[in-house]
């Protein structure tokens, strides 16, 4: 009986399936509230980074200008921005009750996100080889905790969206699953916005 209420026939598919149920509405409001907290979390990390970005124990430690390559950061930015766009397409198809296209765009989002993550791991690997590690200086600690927390959010997002693709594969679209997809998309956009600030404050500001 309970399940009946979540499966809506196509002609009655609501314009905003993600907030069509009370649970969906709660998820929407609750998740925006959570993102408010996440914003403060990243603001604290940015503040820590700005306070420590020139703090190294001695002058033979590398600083931002010696390390960063804008080319790599630019490619990473493009990958993540594009993945945000593809998640919009997924939500668009979710609102049109087009399950297979939604799944497809979610999969593309995951691929782009994974590409971003791979480049980030490569970047960290390079830096560690150059002697810039989490333990080498206060700058190193602040850099890795800011970028690392963002990267951790990307990993969680990838697992989340992949999980949704798998769990919904057998269930299809309902107002129950739509709310889940929409929440994940909100989260993915948030990660993207944070990266825009990282690109500006850490990378651009680091090389000028």
């Amino acid at each position: 009986m309970a399940e009946m209420k979540y499966n809506v026939p196509n002609e009655q598919w609501p314009e905003h399936p993600e907030t069509a149920t009370l649970e969906g509405k709660n998820k929407f409001v609750g998740f925006w509230t959570f993102l408010g907290g996440e914003t403060v979390l990243f603001a604290s990390l940015f503040a820590t980074y700005l306070a420590l970005k020139d703090s190294v124990p001695s002058s033979d430690h590398m600083l931002a200008a010696d390390l960063f390559h804008l080319e790599l950061a630019f490619v990473m930015t493009m990958l993540l921005l594009t993945s945000s766009l593809t998640s919009v397409y997924a939500v668009y198809h979710m609102r049109n009750n087009n399950f297979s296209k939604m799944q497809l765009w979610l999969a593309i989002t995951v691929l782009l996100g994974a590409g971003f993550l791979a480049l980030e791991i490569y970047e960290f690997y390079e830096y560690v080889h150059l002697g810039h590690t989490f333990r080498s200086s206060a700058f190193g600690s602040a850099f890795y905790i800011l970028i690392g927390t963002h990267g951790f959010h990307v990993i969680i997002g990838l697992i989340w969206i992949t999980g949704l693709i798998i769990r919904n594969a057998t269930r299809g679209l309902s107002v129950y699953t739509a709310a889940k997809v929409n929440t994940a998309a909100l989260y993915w956009h948030f990660i993207d916005v944070v990266w825009v600030f990282i690109f500006t404050i850490v990378y651009l500001l680091g090389v000028i």
Binding site: M1, A2, E3, Y6, L22, K25, N26, V29, G30, T33, F34, G36, G37, E38, V40, L41, S44, L45, A47, T48, A51, L52, S55, V56, P57, F134, R135, S136, S137, A138, F139, G140, S141, A142, Y144, I145, W160, G163, L164, R167, R171, Y176, K180
Partner: protein, 639 residues
């Protein structure tokens, strides 16, 4: 009967029910029991402090143990007693006050309480596992990085786990109040308890992440070899002070605003008058919440941030006195001309006004930055914050305990014993802390484990310790009161105080697990009072009697919290004896299993999350027939 009420046989069934419950009323009881336990624990620590300081040159506690006791007293009282006890009353009242059948996220509500309980247990296990944290409840980095052993690690990890629970609960209350209000319950008809919970929830959402970050920096420095606070590697310990107080100052409003809410309810109930200046009260609550984020550096006047920063934060701090003053006057005007009933909760409320104003006035004194250089780190500060926290928050908790006890347990605490508790606690409180203002002005620094004879501190400290004894007696009487009440188990019916004004008192006692058989229609502020005066004393239904949806119980929140509890041990011992570790733990024995414990713990939590996501948790339906049966039973009971 449905599955939620059917299994009521045996102790184990009850324990299992509470471990898996998602019912806000049962979660309120969990918060009350756990918070009450930690309150007693923190109280015992307070008594140890006062015994040590009763006479000069005392050696009851060693200097090191004294540091551990003051640290644990502060940390326990703020994080594990005051806040959870407020959550107990929020959970018990808010969904009922807004006419909802549960909170927005029942699952997360359960997760919040278990994270808090496991975090609290973890923190207190430090006593048995090599020593408690000893860097003060503020745990300033220059002290906490140098603190030998694992004490501070217990602090950082324990607070991280319980803090996650608090953040989750904050989000839950904000969402609940925004989306779950009954028809007619507009924002400006919400009882003050609900309003203050909403604002406190928003404060939690914005104030806890800085603590999370601060604690992570501390965790990484102490356990994973980073350099945020290691000055030789370029670190800066002032970052901790900022992050801690960006959290820490809103935190005191997270505590005091719900306390204001409880008192607002009590004043209007027992003065039998509508709350004076309701909209001004709401405005003042929101304004206090807003200003609460712009004053954190008044804890850091002596750090040396410069005259401009100090001036700005001094002015912002003084500005908070305005909305707080509005509230004080509104409460006084609520009592003015009211038909006052001196019940136990009302006694606490009446005592709260002068006590809290005294704490507020010394707060304004400290807001004057140049003068604060004199007060800083003296007993004057200790006196000030105990006046606001005990005179404000603890009075509210005790008042709320008596006031909401019938709502939570359908029995009444003894008024006679309640009043004895009140007078012992009230006199003891002023005796303990009034004299500490003078001790501070006479030059006694805070956080010292003893003092020399002949400095003029002897008599004052003895008076203070005797006062603490009176407070302890008061709490003992309260515990006796609770035991007698539970043993007698004399049930009371609907609206036991006789003057209930808000929706929660319109419900039959004990409150059915679905709260409202029909969601009520709210026709104005003090919805139940309106129906008493203008209707037949029953809430009008906003919906026809029908089946409705309720959430399933789940053990997953418990397992998820357990995973983080296990992982905390792994993190704690990870740096032990490693060559890259800070000096404080580098000499300890190496624990090769630490990494695997960390991984296993995180895996437990992670697998629980995946399980939660992959299952369709659709809840169940309460049928019309069952509700009708309950209603008939209530009718019979009433006759």
């Amino acid at each position: 009967m449905s599955q939620a009420t059917a299994k009521k046989n045996g102790v184990w069934a009850t324990i299992w029910e509470y471990m898996t419950t998602v019912d806000h009323k049962k979660i309120a009881i969990l918060y009350l029991i756990a918070g009450g336990f930690f309150f007693v624990l923190g109280g015992i620590e307070a008594m140890l402090i006062r015994i040590q300081l009763a006479v000069p040159n005392n050696d009851f506690l060693s200097a090191g143990l004294f540091n551990e006791v003051i640290t644990m007293h502060g940390t326990t009282m703020i994080f594990l007693a005051a806040m959870p006890l407020l959550f107990a009353f929020m959970n018990a009242t808010v969904p009922l006050q807004i006419g909802a059948r549960d909170v927005a996220f029942p699952f997360l509500n359960s997760l919040g309480v278990w994270l808090f309980i496991f975090g609290g247990i973890f923190l207190n296990l430090s006593w048995f596992l090599g020593g408690a944290p000893d860097a003060g409840w503020t745990s300033y980095a220059s002290l906490s990085i140098a603190s030998p052993g694992h004490g501070v690690d217990f602090y950082a990890l324990g607070l991280q786990v319980s803090g996650a629970g608090t953040l989750i609960s904050g989000i839950n209350f904000v969402t609940t109040i925004i989306t779950m209000r009954a028809p007619g319950m507009t924002y400006m008809r919400m009882p003050l308890m609900t309003w203050t919970t909403l604002v406190a929830g928003v404060l939690i959402v914005f104030a806890f992440p800085p603590l999370t970050v601060g604690l992570f920096l501390l965790i990484f420095d102490r356990m994973f070899g980073s350099n945020f606070f290691i000055v030789e590697a370029g670190g800066n310990t002032i970052i901790w002070e900022h992050l801690f107080w960006i959290f820490g100052h809103p935190e005191v409003y997270i505590l005091i605003l719900p306390a204001f809410g409880i008192f607002s309810e009590i004043f209007s109930t027992f003065a039998r008058k509508r709350l004076f200046g309701y909209s001004a009260m709401v405005f003042a609550t929101v304004l206090i919440g807003f200003f609460g984020f712009m004053v954190w550096a008044h804890h850091m006047f002596t750090v040396g941030l410069g005259p401009t920063a100090n001036a700005i934060f001094a002015l912002a701090t003084m500005a908070i006195a305005v909305p707080t003053g509005i509230k004080i006057f509104n409460w006084i005007f609520t009592i003015w001309g009211g038909s006052i009933e001196f019940t136990t909760p009302m006694l606490y409320a009446l005592a709260f006004i002068p006590s809290f104003v005294m704490g507020g006035v010394t707060g304004i004194m400290q807001a004057v930055a140049p003068a604060d250089y004199q007060y800083h780190d003296s007993y004057f500060i200790v006196a000030h914050f105990h006046y606001v926290i005990v005179g404000g928050v603890v009075f509210a908790l005790l008042a709320g305990l008596h006031y909401y006890w019938p709502l939570m347990f359908a029995t009444m605490l003894s008024e006679k014993l309640g009043k004895i508790t009140f007078w012992l606690f009230f006199i003891g409180f002023h005796m303990t802390f009034l004299i500490q203002h003078f001790l501070g002005l006479w030059g006694m620094p805070r956080r010292v484990f003893t003092y020399l004879d002949g400095q003029g501190y002897n008599a004052a400290n003895m008076i203070s310790s005797l006062g603490a004894g009176l407070m302890a007696l008061g709490v003992i009487v309260l515990v006796i009161n609770i035991i007698i009440t539970v043993a007698k188990n004399q049930k009371v019916g609907r609206d036991p105080w006789g003057d209930g004004r808000t929706l929660e008192w319109s419900l039959p006692l004990p409150v059915p697990y679905y709260n409202f058989a029909q969601i009520p229609l709210v026709r104005g502020l003090d919805a139940f009072w309106i129906e008493k005066k203008e209707g037949n004393g029953e809430m009008l239904p906003a919906e026809s009697l029908d089946d409705f949806h309720m959430p399933n119980n789940s053990i997953i929140p418990f397992v998820m919290s357990l995973g983080l509890f296990v992982a905390s041990f792994g993190a704690l011992y990870f740096a032990s004896g490693k060559e890259w570790a800070i000096d404080a733990v580098a000499d300890l024995p190496v624990r090769p299993w630490a990494f695997w414990v960390l991984v296993i713990g995180l895996a437990i939590t992670f697998i629980s999350m995946i399980t939660r996501s992959f299952k369709d948790d659709l809840g169940y339906y309460v049928t019309k027939e069952e509700v009708l049966r309950d209603l008939e039973e209530q009718e019979r009971g009433a006759k």
